[in-house]
Amino acid sequence: MATPPKDPSPTIKQQRAEKRAAQLEAFKKKEAAAKRNRLLGIIGAITALVLIAGTVTTVLVLGAQPPTPQEVDDELVSGDYRDRLQVFSDVEAGHVNTPVDYDQTPPIGGPHNPAWLNCGVYDVEQQNENAVHSLEHGAVWITYDPAETTDDEIAALVALAPTTYTIVSPYPGIGEAMAISAWGAQLRFTDVADPAVEDFLTEYWRSPSSPEPNAPCTGAIDGPGKVS
C-alpha cells in the first residue's frame, strides 16, 4: 500500500500555530515598546518636574536676598570695629531755634537748627545744633580736642575725610580720643591711622540709616573758621 507522499508544506493546523506565535511575538514586542515608552514618559515627566523645581528653587534662593541697606557686610569691615562702635536707636529729629542739650558729646543726632552747617574743614568750634542737621543729611563729623591733637594729626584727619558730606572741626573738651560721628552712631579713636575709621566711613558716610540721606550738605551756612 502506497503511503501518501509526505507533504513538505505545513498543515493548516501548523500554519495557524505559527501565525499565532508570530502574532503573540508581535504583541509582546508591542507591549514591551509601550512599557518602555510609558517608562520614558514617566522619567521624562519627572525630569521636567525636577528641572523646573530646581530652577525655581535656585532663582528664589539666589534672587530673594534683598541686601539690608542699614548695615554693610561684615566682610567690608575689619577687626574690632563692631565692638567699639556705639549705635543709638530712636534718635529724635525736628527743628528748633533754641540751644539743645545733647545726650552725647559730640552729639550724634537730636533736635537741631533749621540751617545745616555746610560740610568742609573748620579750624574753630562749630554750633552743635547746625552740625547735627548735617548729620541728618548723611554727613559724618570728625572732631578732635585741639588741646590734645597735634597739627600733623589734624592734617591726617583732613586727609582721610571724604571731600563731600564730611565736617572736620575742633571740639574742645572731648579728651584724647578723637570722634567720628554720624546720625545714630559714633566711634572714638586715638590713632589717626586706625582702620576702624575707614570702616565707619564705609558704613555710615551718606548712609541710608540717616533720616534724610542725599539731602545737601552745601548751600546753607558756613560756620566760622571755614578752611575748605
Binding site: V50, G54, T163, T164, R206
Partner: protein, 216 residues
C-alpha cells in the same frame, strides 16, 4: 525581578540628582544676568564719583542763579541743578539697592584703570592731583570767587568753570560706557552725555554773548 527594579530605582535617583544639579545651574545662570555689580566695579566707581562731580555742579548752578537776573542763565542753571540732583539720587539709589556703600574703597577715578569691555581702550588718563581727583572739578578758591561775584561777572565765572566741568563729566561718562554693560548705568551715562554735550554748546554761546570782560 527585584534586581532590575533596584537598578532602575538607583538609576532614577542618580538621574534625579543630575537633573537637580542641571536645574540649579540653569537657575544660577539665568539669575546671573541680574547679578549686582561688585564694590570695585567700574559701575559702582562711576556712580560714586559722579555723585561728587554732580554735587559741585548743583552747588555752582544754584550759586549763579542767586547772583544774576539774566533769565536765560537762570533757566539753564535751574535745569542743571534739578537734572543733576535727580541723577545723583538715581545713582545713590542704585548703589543702595545693590547693597553697596556710598563710600568708595579706592581713590576717585580708580575704576577708570579697569580694562575696557572691548579690550581696545587703554587705561584712562588719570590726574590724581586734580581737585577731588576728577576731571573738570573747580577748586575751593574758584568756588569762593564765584560766591563773591555778582551779575555778569558771576555769569562769566560760572560759564568758565562749568564748561570744563561738563567736559570732565563727558570724559567720565565715556570711561564708564567703555567699561560696563550694566543697563541702568549705561542709560544714566548716555543721558548725562546727551544733556551735557548740548549744555556745553549752549554755555559757549552764552559766554560769547557776554559783554567784554573787564580786566581782572
Amino acid at each position: 525581578m527585584t534586581r532590575p527594579r533596584g537598578r532602575l530605582v538607583a538609576g532614577l535617583v542618580v538621574l534625579g540628582v543630575l537633573v537637580l544639579a542641571a536645574g540649579f545651574l540653569g537657575g544660577r545662570l539665568s539669575s546671573g544676568t541680574s547679578a549686582t555689580p561688585t564694590t570695585e566695579s567700574a559701575a559702582a566707581g562711576f556712580l560714586r564719583d559722579m555723585q561728587v562731580h554732580h554735587a559741585q555742579a548743583v552747588e555752582m548752578a544754584l550759586l549763579v542763579r542767586d547772583r544774576t537776573d539774566d533769565e536765560t542763565v537762570r533757566t539753564i542753571a535751574y535745569d542743571m541743578a534739578v537734572t543733576q540732583a535727580s541723577q545723583s539720587g538715581a545713582m545713590y539709589g542704585l548703589l543702595d539697592a545693590w547693597g553697596l556703600p556710598q563710600r568708595s574703597p579706592q581713590p576717585a577715578m580708580t575704576w577708570t584703570q579697569l580694562p575696557a569691555l572691548d579690550g581696545s581702550d587703554a587705561a584712562h588718563d588719570m590726574d590724581p592731583g586734580a581737585p577731588a581727583g576728577m576731571p573738570g572739578m573747580a577748586t575751593p578758591e574758584q568756588l569762593a570767587a564765584l560766591r563773591a561775584a555778582s551779575g555778569d561777572e558771576a555769569v562769566r565765572l560760572f560759564l568758565e568753570l562749568m564748561i570744563p566741568h561738563h567736559e570732565g563729566g563727558l570724559e567720565m561718562a565715556d570711561a564708564v560706557l567703555a567699561r560696563t554693560s550694566v543697563p541702568q548705568v549705561v542709560s544714566l551715562a548716555t543721558g548725562i552725555r546727551r544733556a551735557q554735550e548740548a549744555e556745553i554748546v549752549a554755555m559757549r554761546n552764552l559766554l560769547a554773548a557776554l559783554p567784554v570782560a573787564p580786566a581782572r
